[in-house]
């Protein structure tokens, strides 16, 4: 009897559930279908752009963090899935404006052969679509995951080299200053650091420009996602930390070379400069966030 009742109850529940699910599914079917059409058109438009990005991430190790950005952006969207469903609203005309801006930038890039504009328009167009078709509330929910994709776009190499050049000069100057405090005789000529026995060049690869991009990308994710009151301080220190990490690395190498010889140049501190910078910079960021969090908690608590 009990078994029968159980079976009957379960089957009727199952029937109800199935009817509910079917109803829910059929009510979602149309929006899902329309969303799929928009997705197909979006991919039709941006397919070659995305392909170019992936090729760049594969081809240049300095841009390979692009894969990480996409994965983190997907995670951010997934972690907001409930809010996403709840925030589905009415179309917003402001979104149409954003969509038009995105498409205009895209057209400028695609027709003018300027791939930076084409790539930069991708998050703008995507956000414009969400804003226009799904409303302001959804735009607010997806804004960060979508705009975070901007960090996947490699900067033009010419610009990168200009930034690297400025960083090399700064790093060399900072290291020369720090080293002089230790009493090490040093002569600085541009980005050449002359020690008594050896001359070191702060080369392009040593500028820290490439590792800084990855560090900034992860730092943005970390700071945005953590629920702490000291975000402003961390935002303002993100780029200085990236630069500081490289100065520390070059300082360690310079002092090491002076005291222990040129074998220091063959150590992992020099060979894996990007990894070292990344770990040092991100570690410092996490440490600062913990320390300031504790200091803030003490101040707030009675």
């Amino acid at each position: 009897m009990r078994k029968e009742g159980f079976t009957q109850g379960t089957s009727s529940q199952a029937l109800n559930l199935s009817a509910e699910t079917t109803e829910k599914f059929s009510s979602l079917l149309l929006p899902l279908g329309k969303g799929a059409v928009l997705l197909v058109l979006f991919l039709g438009l941006y397919g070659p752009t995305i392909k170019g990005l992936v090729v760049d991430w594969f081809s240049f190790y300095t841009h390979s963090h692009g894969f990480m950005i996409v994965a983190l952006s997907a995670y951010l969207a997934w972690s907001r899935r409930r809010k996403l469903i709840d925030s589905l609203g009415r179309p917003h005309l402001g979104g149409l404006l954003l969509l038009l801006v995105g498409l205009a930038v895209f057209s400028l890039g695609a027709l003018g052969g300027e791939e930076l504009a084409e790539r930069a328009s991708l998050p703008i167009t995507l956000l414009g679509l969400f804003f226009y078709v799904c409303g302001l509330d959804m735009m607010r929910v997806v804004a960060f995951p979508v705009l975070y994709l901007l960090l996947m776009i490699p900067l033009p190499y010419t610009l990168f080299r200009d930034i690297a050049f400025a960083l090399r000069l700064f790093d060399a100057k900072a290291v020369a200053l720090a080293t002089s405090f230790l009493g090490i005789p040093i002569f600085l000529d541009g980005f050449m650091i002359h020690l008594p026995e050896i001359s070191l060049e702060v080369a392009d690869g040593c500028s820290g420009a490439f590792s800084s991009v990855a560090l900034i990308a992860l730092g943005v994710f970390y700071i945005h996602e953590m629920e702490r009151p000291n975000k402003l301080l961390l935002w303002s220190l993100l780029i200085p930390f990236a630069v500081f990490a490289n100065v520390v690395r070059i300082f360690v190498i310079t002092v090491g070379v002076y005291f222990f010889g040129d074998w220091m140049l063959r150590t992992w501190v020099h060979q894996f400069s990007g990894v070292f910078n990344f770990l040092l910079g991100f570690g410092a960021l996490v440490l600062l966030s913990i320390v300031t969090q504790r200091a803030f908690s003490k101040r707030v608590s009675p």
Partner: protein, 223 residues
């Protein structure tokens, strides 16, 4: 439940995306312009300078981004320096190809991180003899981590305009592609290997040749 308003927004979005796809992805790309590929581009004599064209296969400069390259060597009796002249023509077809900056693309090596460039503070004083307007060019010193240095002066030509700045070149190319449906551009690069003490004299010689060579390169740029 979708309202009429929702449907309208969807149709507008579909229309905009479709139009963009058709206009940018399906539209016919500009056809490549014909170009004179002969090494006779090089003048054999430029005042007191003697020049010889170098066969593309024997030339040390390689630039994968360009469709055609003309390479030549020029010298003057009183100069101990031999200057390398490279003219790279990029048809822009496939659509995005353009001349790579000599700051990044190094002789015979392509992209090589061991080369770094040092911008030269002194602005170019090279002038074109024909109209005595300043030649907007860019001069850099390429330095290899193993020692060699190369003094380089370069400029780009888009249409009839000359640009020394890498960013201005990109903007000019963008404007030309958008409004004139022309995609071609050329790079003129005059360089020589130098020792540290010879940099100034090398740049003087390069400027001297640039003055003479610019009008020739400008007039022979076919598009």
């Amino acid at each position: 439940m979708m309202s009429r308003h929702d449907s309208l927004a969807w149709w507008v979005a579909v229309f905009l995306l479709s139009t963009a796809v058709l206009y940018t992805r399906v539209a016919e790309a500009p056809a490549p312009q014909s170009v004179d590929t002969s090494l006779t581009f090089f003048p054999l004599k430029l005042n007191e300078w003697s020049c010889i064209p170098v066969d593309g296969n024997a030339a040390s400069y390689r630039d994968a981004s360009t469709d055609y390259s003309w390479v030549g060597k020029c010298w003057k009796t009183e100069h101990a320096l031999v200057l390398d002249v490279h003219i790279g023509y990029a048809s822009g077809v496939p659509f995005r190809s353009r001349n790579l900056s000599p700051r990044l693309n190094h002789p015979g090596l392509g992209l090589d991180d061991r080369w770094s460039f040092i911008p030269q503070d002194h602005p170019s004083n090279a002038r074109q003899k024909s109209d005595s307007r300043p030649l907007p060019c860019n001069q850099i010193l390429l330095s290899h981590s193993s020692g060699p240095r190369i003094a380089v002066l370069y400029w780009y030509q888009v249409g009839n305009s000359i640009y020394g700045d890498d960013y201005r070149y990109r903007v000019a190319l963008l404007i030309q592609r958008l409004f004139r449906r022309r995609t071609a551009s050329q790079l003129v690069r005059i360089s020589t290997t130098v020792k540290t003490a010879e940099e100034n004299s090398a740049f003087d010689a390069i400027h001297e040749l640039a003055e003479l060579f610019a009008p020739v390169a400008r007039s022979r740029f076919t598009q």
